[in-house]
């Protein structure tokens, strides 16, 4: 409901606006520390990388549309296939879900005015941008990484990949990882410390639980990837022997380290989508989520147990049975938390009063696709089954169902859902529904036949295939499906773009949402909330008394925090008000630090050690400058 604004309140709003205003124009965007602006920067950058990854996908599908394809040479195919995976996972899905959705919505959902570390938030974005450009530079001169997105040794070793492609991969991901780690730390501290007083852990929206789980998973998974990559580069650039079998090293070491990261990574990919689903469902079925504590714990449990299943990617590698049995057992049990969530979502929808608007359609599509993807996934927990179907198109089918179907569908639904909040305008409903159906059909036509192809023996990553193997027909169908899918996604983009300029004004709360972002104007003001909200449940917008108390507080000047760039901090578990924090405002140092870091990585790639050391010293100087202006002085 819109805030009715009497005189005294209007003065407070103007004061808050002056305090939180950022410089206009490009300078404002480059030096921004506002979480909403950073979210928008992430959104458009991630969308650009989605397009790049999509082009790569269409190239792959066009190459495979018929046997003995000649669209891509084998060399080109390996690079395109690798970049498709790397782009979609590291440069699209995580930045979009955590960087765009997470950054924009988390402070709003917890009743805060910004993230815990606004400047580090900006740094995360600039590092992301620089790392993405760094990796795409490799395409110039045909030096893109070409060993698949999980880059196994010995193929990725210097002996078999002497060019710089793998170095772009390793250094690019090390670079990118800094951004993601910073974001994760920011989310955890924000969620624990900056919740509005009264929002104890058991009253926090499920969206926030999902992001808490994602962030903890990132903090402990990224180091494994970093270790793997550092050891790889030590081997490649300095001649060490971690992965060199002839000198006491071990190629399986790479697989272990990579998948200790890699499996939690796929849960990291999907958890934000769970969070988005749990935000959309209650709104559109006008019912609180069934078994709230169970859904909250299931989100955290998936992230936790996800650390214990990594070697199910290695069942065909020659490990002993008594080692692999640990992973088989845990991989079977990890289905249960996902099942808990599915049952809760479905029960909530069936026992509520659903309004089948576009966002809910995407979530229902997600539920169907997640069930299919989850079922094909749990089949792999059976070691004998896995050993027949590993590295075939059955795997490709499985992970596209869970990544595209289960991670991307909620993102698309979320784009529609929060579009009115971010832009102030409504999307076109009919075109929205059409875009859903086209994408849903396209997705199934593209990826369902891959299950059959896999069972028929088609290996993954093949750059082409011979006629007469029985694979031709299905490959044709899949490629046509891919074009359909591209059209569906194109329709989403066009709908949102056109609605941006021609959509109906949306108002603060067009859907009757349950969480706090719907209490602000659309788009929200720089300072998010004129009054720090009073909270007594995970569905604050449906607590009328609390919202009336907010209006009264604004009148009286209570909990307005207008003495500066301020937001409250509370105790970690029970959210009792503990202190008032002064937050930093715009700063040029984050983009400069990102540039300096880009310099370091580029120089290491070129083996210019001295120059790289100079840039490291530069980084130290930038950090000193960054911290010279303490927030209270800002």
């Amino acid at each position: 409901m819109a805030v009715a604004v009497p005189e005294a309140s209007r003065e407070r709003l103007e004061r808050l606006e002056r305090i939180w205003r950022e410089p206009p124009g490009v300078i404002g965007w480059i030096t921004t520390t506002n979480h909403k602006r950073i979210g928008i920067l992430y959104f458009f950058t991630a969308l650009a990388f989605f397009a790049a990854g999509g082009v790569e996908a269409l190239l792959i599908r066009t190459q495979l549309i018929g046997p003995n394809g000649t669209v891509l040479s084998p060399v080109e195919f390996n690079q395109v296939m690798t970049m498709h995976g790397v782009t979609m996972i590291f440069l699209f899905v995580i930045p979009m879900s955590a960087g765009a959705f997470g950054n924009y919505l988390l402070p709003l959902m917890i009743g805060a005015r910004d993230m815990a570390f606004p400047r580090m938030n900006a740094l995360s974005y600039w590092i992301y941008l620089c790392s993405g450009i760094f990796m795409y530079v490799s395409l110039l001169g045909g030096n893109a990484p070409n060993a698949g997105w999980f880059d196994y040794v010995p193929l990725a070793s210097k002996t078999f990949s002497p060019g710089p492609g793998i170095d772009f991969y390793a250094l690019g991901l090390l670079f990118n990882g800094i951004s993601t780690l910073a974001t994760a730390i920011n989310f955890i501290v924000t969620i624990f410390k900056l919740r509005a007083p009264g929002m104890s852990l058991n009253r926090m929206p499920l969206f926030c639980f999902a992001f808490l789980a994602v962030s903890f998973a990132l903090v402990f998974a990224l180091p494994a990837l970093n270790a793997a990559l550092i050891l790889l580069e030590l081997d490649r650039l300095l001649g060490f022997h971690f992965y060199d079998v002839f000198r006491g090293g071990d190629t399986i070491l790479w697989q272990n380290l990579f998948w200790i990261f890699g499996h939690p990574e796929v849960y990291i990919i999907i958890l934000p989508a769970f969070g988005i689903a749990t935000a959309i469902i209650p709104t559109f079925v006008r019912r609180r989520m069934v078994a709230f504590p169970l859904v909250a714990l299931a989100e955290i449990l998936v992230a936790l147990i996800g650390f214990g299943v990594w070697a199910h990617h290695m069942f065909a590698v020659g490990l002993s049975t008594i080692t692999t049995i640990y992973f088989a057992g845990v991989s079977l049990i990890i289905v249960i938390p996902s099942g808990i969530q599915l049952f809760s979502w479905i029960t909530t929808i069936v026992t509520g009063t659903p309004r089948f608007k576009t966002p809910l359609l995407w979530i229902i599509g997600f539920i169907i696709l997640f069930i299919l993807g989850g079922l094909s996934g749990v089949m792999f927990a059976a070691i004998p089954f896995d050993q027949q179907l590993t590295d075939t198109y059955f795997v490709v089918a499985h992970f596209h169902y869970v990544i595209f179907g289960a991670a991307v569908f909620p993102l698309l639904g979320g784009m529609y859902y929060w579009f009115p909040k971010v832009t102030g305008r409504m999307y076109h409903e009919r075109w929205g529904q059409a875009s859903f159906w086209l994408t849903f059909v396209g997705m199934n036509v593209t990826f369902f036949p891959m299950h059959i192809l896999g069972l028929d023996g088609m290996p993954r990553r093949d750059y082409t295939y011979s006629p007469g193997l029985g694979w031709t027909g299905l490959n044709l169908i899949e490629s046509l499906g891919a074009y359909l899918l591209a059209a569906g996604l194109g329709m989403v983009v066009v709908n949102l773009l056109v609605s941006l300029f021609r959509g109906e004004p949306a108002g603060a709360d067009p859907f009757g949402g349950d969480t706090l972002e719907w209490s602000t104007t659309s788009p929200p003001p720089e300072y998010n909330f004129p009054v720090i909200p009073t909270v007594s449940s995970p569905y604050p917008m449906w607590d009328e008394e609390d919202r009336e108390r907010d209006a009264a507080n604004l009148e009286r000047g209570e909990k307005v925090l207008e003495q500066g760039h301020e937001t409250p901090a509370s105790t970690l578990v029970d959210a009792e008000w503990d202190e008032i924090l002064e937050m930093p405002s715009g700063s040029p140092w984050p983009p400069l630090l990102a540039l300096a870091l880009a310099g370091v990585f580029a120089l290491v790639l070129l083996k210019q050690w001295l120059a790289a050391a100079i840039f490291i010293a530069l980084i130290a100087l930038v950090l000193v400058a960054w911290h010279a202006k303490e927030p209270a002085e800002a």
Binding site: V189, V219, G239, A569, E582, A632
Partner: protein, 206 residues
């Protein structure tokens, strides 16, 4: 509501100490640093796991041609670094009580101990390099990578020491107190890692 402090405004020993006494939750920066440290600890864990993973694949360890590491000096140096945690802890306590000058001198003492430690360790490392290079085999690679990672963290810690000393010389604020506390966390972490690293390094000789 009147009891809630604007903690960042505290300047000078008395005000900062008062804010410290009143807070119930640790500052955001402290939690953020703890999480970063957890991540770095996981990185060390991966490297130590790598060392033992490679050990399990090997017959003799270290492989023929490399001597077992000598035990005395590394242990002595590690004890030195651990001892350096005492002035660090005292400095943190002093800063929390608002005693900026005392905290400064204690940190300076700690920094001197830590710098000496790093110098001695680098010296030892250079000696090691004379007898075997990391390019010999996987044992050597793991040995030097682990030590190198640890020494890099010590070096960064020293740079952090210098920055905190410079900031603290200008007086105590709530922000700088958080910096001192984070510095304390960092050195406890580096010292704990030093113990694990030295035990791993010396494992063939123990």
């Amino acid at each position: 509501m009147g009891e809630v402090t604007r903690s960042m405004e505290a300047r000078g020993g008395g005000a900062v100490a008062a804010v410290e006494r009143q807070r119930r939750a640790q500052p955001s920066g402290w939690w953020g640093a703890l999480l970063l440290i957890a991540s770095e600890a996981a990185l060390f864990g991966c490297l130590i796991a790598t060392y033992f993973y490679l050990r399990f694949k090997s017959g003799t360890w270290p492989p023929d041609g490399i001597e077992k590491p000598s035990v005395t000096l590394p242990l002595v140096f590690t004890a030195m670094l651990l001892a350096g945690c005492l002035p660090v802890a005292a400095a943190v306590r002093a800063a929390k009580a608002g005693l900026a000058k005392r905290a400064w001198w204690l940190l300076a003492l700690a920094a001197a101990v830590q710098a000496t430690y790093l110098g001695l360790q680098i010296n030892l490392l250079v000696d090691n390099l004379d007898s075997f290079s990391p390019r010999v085999d996987a044992y050597a690679s793991a040995y030097y990578a682990l030590l190198g990672l640890h020494h890099a963290h010590v070096a960064i810690g020293l740079a952090f020491d210098l920055w905190v000393l410079a900031a603290l010389a200008r007086g105590l604020t709530a922000y700088r107190l958080t910096a001192v506390r984070i510095l304390g966390l960092y050195w406890y972490f580096v010292s704990a890692m030093a113990v694990l690293v030295v035990l791993t390094q010396l494992y063939p000789s123990l």
